[in-house]
Structures are given as structure tokens and as C-alpha cells.
Symmetry: C2
């Protein structure tokens, strides 16, 4: 099956290989490239297993390194739905992945692609779920892995990355500065950072195809956004289904960011490819606090194409949402993931719309933090 990279902005075509990550006509710091398939010749299988059925829409068919990943559950939110006057509200619970977050979908694809392309050394600029997930898959694959992180990385996170065999290298600066410094290094390895590496969104498509297999095309999908890889990957899954003529309907995409730290919202309002914010606030949803989003050009495309938008939520709204979803559905999201539940209150959704929100990661590993939040709020 023929595949190539295409720039979402200038449509320039590039070959699909390890040496190209983003469009040199724009910026080396932003993800402009996306993988394009020979859609006319794509055939879907009959298998119930998404990896088999959709193999023509994936960059590789074999996953040598895997945890025998299973379908994540799509859970109907009955009580929480009633509370928000929605009768078809679902959550796709990505906390059931190998290391407990949706990042494992990205890692499965990126690490196996790295093996196929004989990359021996990879890096990610992240101190959160992406760093942890990449480390786990890289260790299993025997790849050398480095995580570039800010100086104040918590002992627990450092320990976890190290446990999975990853190197942790500290660089001065905030996330955005570290990100640029790492890219500017002479030989830091293959860049697996979400937002830049186009393989990552290919893994996310698995989530979209699984949703489609279970309930068809939702009316609305609500996704937490840092870089926005999750939102764009989901969009790409449904867009490719429409290229194939399997459906004509597209979901409306609602991305969720933190009030005051929502570069995607600013970019969308200002009709820019990307926006860099200054003096952003801190937030309990630390995984998506962002000055800029490296998938921004792609997210803009997805929002414009589907009439979507970016919703902003505050810490108190997140805390309220955590409380509510635990008490109604016994689901504990991590605060970064809880923004999706918080966003429900802030948008107009029709009562009978089929709505899917993405639980990006669970809160079991953040229990102490959640305990403090809830005690403070009560």
C-alpha cells in the first residue's frame, strides 16, 4: 500500500521515511505533516479486531513489540448523563492501556515504526504520560530512550521513567524552551515527541475506529488538548472513513484546554496556524497546560473542517467534574483527563446527541493529589 507524507498547510508531498518529520517550508518545531494513504485502493477487512480490519489504514501491519493490547471500553454514562440532560453520553476509557494512558496507542505505533526503520535511539520531550509510555515500549523493544524534562521533575515521575529503562535529561527552561533546545541538538535521536512526529496520530486512529465499530459516528467528540494530537488523530480516523465512503457524517470535535493556557483557542479565534501565549497560569491539569501547541496547524484544520471549537475550563470546574464523575459512575480520572467531563457543562449539545468524551488517563496514580483537591473543595 502506497503512503506518503503531506503538509496540511501547503500540501507539499514527502516520502514516508524516518528522516522526515515535519515540513521544512514552515517550522521545524511544528507538526505539519500527516500520513496519506492510497485511499482508492484501501480495503477494509471483516475482522472484528480493529488492527486487522483497518490494517490498510495503518503505517504498519505488524507490531513486534506489544502488550497484546485489547480494545478499551466504551462506557455509557447513565447517571452522569442524566445529570447533564444527555441520554447518549459515553466515555472511551483509555486508562486501560498498558501504562494507563492513551499515549500507549501512540507508543505502540511509534516504537514499532522505529524498529522497522532501524532507529536505535529515540527521544521525547515530556515529563508526563508520554514520557512514561514511550519508556515502557522502548525498554521492551531494547531501544535507547531519552526523556528531556524540566529541572523540577518530581521524584516519582523520574523514578517511573527510569524504571522503564529511560534516561532522564534535565534542561533549563519551561516545556516550550526545552522542546526547542532538544530539537536544536546535533544528534538527539529520532524525535517521538507528540505533536511533532506524525506516526503518533496514526496510533490514535485506533481509538476512533473502535468507537466507530461500537456506536458508529458520534455527533460530538470531546477531547482534552495539550498539543492536540489526540483530537487530530480522532479526526483523521473519521475523515479517512469518509474518504473510503464508509460514512459521510463527521463528528463535531470539541477540544478542551485550560482557561488562560489555551493556545489552540487563541489560534482558532485569530485564524492563525499557531499562537504562543505568555504568562500562562498553572493548573491541576498539568498535562495540558500549554504556551503553544505543536499540532496546532493540524488541529486548526480539524476544527474548521467539522465546525468544532476549543472549550476552556477552570481548575474549580475540573475539581467539580472529578467529584461528580466519581460519585455517579465510579470512574476516577486524572485531573488532566477530567477537563473532558468539565467541558460538558459549557457547550450546547442536544439531549439525544451521541456524545463521546475521552478519558485519557486514570487517577489511581494521582490519588493523593485528588484527595487534596477534593478536601480543599469540600
Amino acid at each position: 500500500m502506497k503512503k506518503f507524507y503531506r503538509c496540511v498547510k501547503c500540501q507539499t508531498i514527502y516520502p514516508f521515511n524516518r528522516d522526515i518529520l515535519t515540513c521544512p517550508k514552515h517550522s521545524k518545531y511544528y507538526g505539519y505533516l500527516t500520513l496519506i494513504y492510497d485511499y482508492k485502493n484501501v480495503k477494509l477487512g471483516n475482522d472484528k479486531n480493529v488492527f486487522k480490519k483497518y490494517k490498510n489504514l495503518f503505517p504498519l501491519e505488524e507490531f513486534e513489540i506489544n502488550f497484546n493490547e485489547q480494545k478499551t471500553p466504551l462506557i455509557k454514562l447513565n447517571k452522569f448523563g442524566v445529570k447533564h440532560e444527555l441520554s447518549n453520553l459515553y466515555v472511551k476509557d483509555e486508562s486501560k492501556n498498558p501504562t494507563g494512558s492513551f499515549k500507549d496507542k501512540e507508543s505502540l505505533f511509534a516504537i514499532n515504526m522505529a524498529l522497522k526503520w532501524e532507529v536505535s535511539n529515540i527521544f521525547v520531550v515530556s515529563s508526563g504520560n508520554a514520557a512514561i509510555s514511550t519508556a515502557a515500549y522502548a525498554q521492551k523493544a531494547g531501544l535507547k530512550y531519552t526523556s528531556y524534562v524540566p529541572k523540577n521533575l518530581s521524584v516519582g515521575k523520574r523514578f517511573l521513567i527510569g524504571l522503564y529503562g529511560g534516561l532522564v535529561k534535565e534542561i533549563n527552561g519551561n516545556y516550550e524552551e526545552i522542546y526547542r533546545k532538544a530539537i536544536d541538538m546535533p544528534f538527539p535521536g529520532w524525535n517521538c515527541t507528540p505533536g511533532l512526529n506524525p506516526i503518533k496520530e496514526e496510533g490514535i486512529k485506533v481509538i476512533g475506529f473502535e468507537i466507530f465499530e461500537e456506536i458508529g459516528v458520534p455527533d460530538v467528540i470531546i477531547a482534552p488538548c495539550g498539543n492536540g494530537t489526540l483530537l487530530f488523530g480522532l479526526f483523521k480516523a473519521f475523515k479517512e472513513l469518509s474518504f473510503l465512503g464508509v460514512t459521510t457524517k463527521m463528528p463535531k470535535f470539541l477540544g478542551v484546554q485550560i482557561r488562560g493556557a489555551s493556545p489552540l483557542k487563541s489560534a482558532f479565534e485569530q485564524q492563525e496556524d499557531f499562537v504562543k501565549l505568555n504568562d500562562i497560569p498553572s493548573s491541576i491539569a498539568e498535562g495540558i497546560v500549554a504556551e503553544e501547541s505543536y499540532s496546532s496547524p493540524k488541529v486548526m484544520y480539524a476544527l474548521e473542517d467539522t465546525g468544532g471549537e476549543i472549550i476552556e475550563v477552570s481548575d474549580s470546574e475540573i475539581t467539580q467534574a472529578i467529584k461528580e464523575i466519581i460519585k455517579t459512575e465510579s470512574i476516577i480520572p486524572e485531573p488532566t483527563s477530567a477537563v473532558a467531563y468539565a467541558a460538558i457543562e459549557k457547550v450546547n449539545i442536544n439531549k439525544n446527541d451521541k456524545v463521546v468524551l475521552i478519558n485519557t488517563a486514570g487517577g489511581q496514580k494521582n490519588l493523593k493529589e485528588i484527595m487534596q483537591l477534593l478536601i480543599k473543595a469540600s
Copy 2:
């Protein structure tokens, strides 16, 4: 489909209802009863979904309260297997259940059975995974739930049970004393404690059927044992498959307990239904440290029937196993679950035997503890 309870010891038959939990001819503190189906008339379906295919072998066909539970992954342990000279070693990763442990399989069945039988008030004597899991399902079901616990329950566990809407009641004494006191109370509710309530092992059968669907009958199954519900439930799954004539082979069952806190080993050696130990040591595998095992009569039956045995492991062996499984397979088990990996070293298994060990729960929520263990051991 006709069903009844039968005592594993004296074979007395009892009706299948909410008012009977154990055989009054023996002890009210031990689980003697197990659910018997009309095996001659059981028909298996063709569905790939275990809940549908095996519905005639489950106490109920509808699970009103559920998290849309998916099949847990059976992961081939390549590198860890090579290290232990085993070429067909697998782990069934039960950490991917809704609250992160195999106890969710038990809760799914027990809570839905409680709803069907119009029980409004349930209790469990546990301060660990069973308490947390039962709380999560009970809250979703709107059932009143109490966890009877020892006085020194950690703040984190108490918080988690409370978060899921459960009451925590402290009783003086160690686990075994509290267990008896709770059973002796006038109206403590329906007893969902693992080891006593026979519904629990029915849920465990799901794990067995899933293994069977994927790789047939293993030669060896290795399961951590506190009460031993897990071991007996797995045994029952394969035993029922043999009643149905689907297979004639049975796996050999290896239960794993803590050295010096292994009442099942003592009972097996002494040919007793159960044994009560004194002055047991503490262990990092706190979930299975036991003076006595309430499923003991059933476990004895399973071991005798299959030529199985109970393996003892020590804390240093557990720590070593945690290190090894993380470094080779990027799997982080909780210490209680890690006893299964530690046991591999201690038994004679043929190189090509198909071996499945059960990862009962993940270590993500015990990271601080695991960090301390590994630092101390290094």
C-alpha cells in the same frame, strides 16, 4: 437453567438463593459451597464474547451494572520467559479491570447478583483491592456498602473506599478476628467477602474461559493466594469445561503464598480442610498475608484434583521478581501480585510447558512503595 449450591466437603445440596452462603454442617466462617449447573444441558454459544458464549455457566446473564468490561490481555513474556528457560510463558494481566484488580471480576458478579436478589446492603471484610472494587460497583448500583477494616487502615485506602461511596467501619483486631466479628453481627448485610461468598468464584471463571479461548488449556497456572478464591475460580472454569466434554486436560494449579504465612500450604501438607497459623510474619505482599484461608476446603479440592501445590516465596524473592519483570517486560505488578513471578524460580516446569501466571493487580498505585523496595534492594 437449573442451578444449586453444593458443599465441596459433604456434597449436601442447597437451593441457589441469597440466604445461603456456606454449609451449616461445617463452619459459618468458611466457604464450603459452590454453584453447580445442570451440565448435561449446558450449551456453549459461538460468540467470541466470553459472557455470551459461556452464559449457561454463569449465575446470571445480564449485568445491569457494568463498566463495559473488556477481555484482559494475555501477554507472552518473551524476555522474562527466556531468562527462566520457559518458551511458552504468559501473563494474564488483570490490572486492566475497572478498578485495577481481578477483584472487579468478582464484584461484577456479586453486585449484579445482589441487585437481582434485591439485596440493598452489602459488606466485605477487606481493606484492600476487594474493598475498593466492591465499593466502586456498589456505588454505581446504588447499594449501601460497608467495609469492615482493622484500626490501622491507611488514609489513602480509607479515602478511596469513601470516594466510591463506601462506609468504613473499624473493628479491633487483626483481619481474621474482624472477619469473625463481622459475621457474628446481627444484621451486617449480605456478606460479599471473598473466600466465603460463592458468587465470587463464578466471576473468576471469566478469566479461565478467556485463557481457554486464547491458548486452550495451559499446563500450569500460577496464582497468588490469600483466601484462594482466584485459584479455585480458575480451577472451576477448567473443571466445568471438562464436565462439558470440551476438554479432558486440566492445568496443574500452583498457588503462591508468603513463607510462614501460608495456611493453604499447611492445610495441604497436613491433609486438613483448613489450618490456622499463629505468629505469622508481615510481608510486602500484604494482600495475601494470611493466618487462615476461608476458601481452604475448596482450594484443597483443586490441588488434590490437579496435582497442584502451594509455593512459598519470601519478600526478597518478590522484590527480585518485581525488578526483573519490569526490566524485561515493562510490566509493574503490585508486590502482592509479584509473588506469581517470584514462584517461577521455585518449581519444576518443563521448558515447553504452556504456563500462565496471573497478574492480579498493577503497581502504578503502589509506586512509592515499589520505589522504596527497589532502592533498599539495590
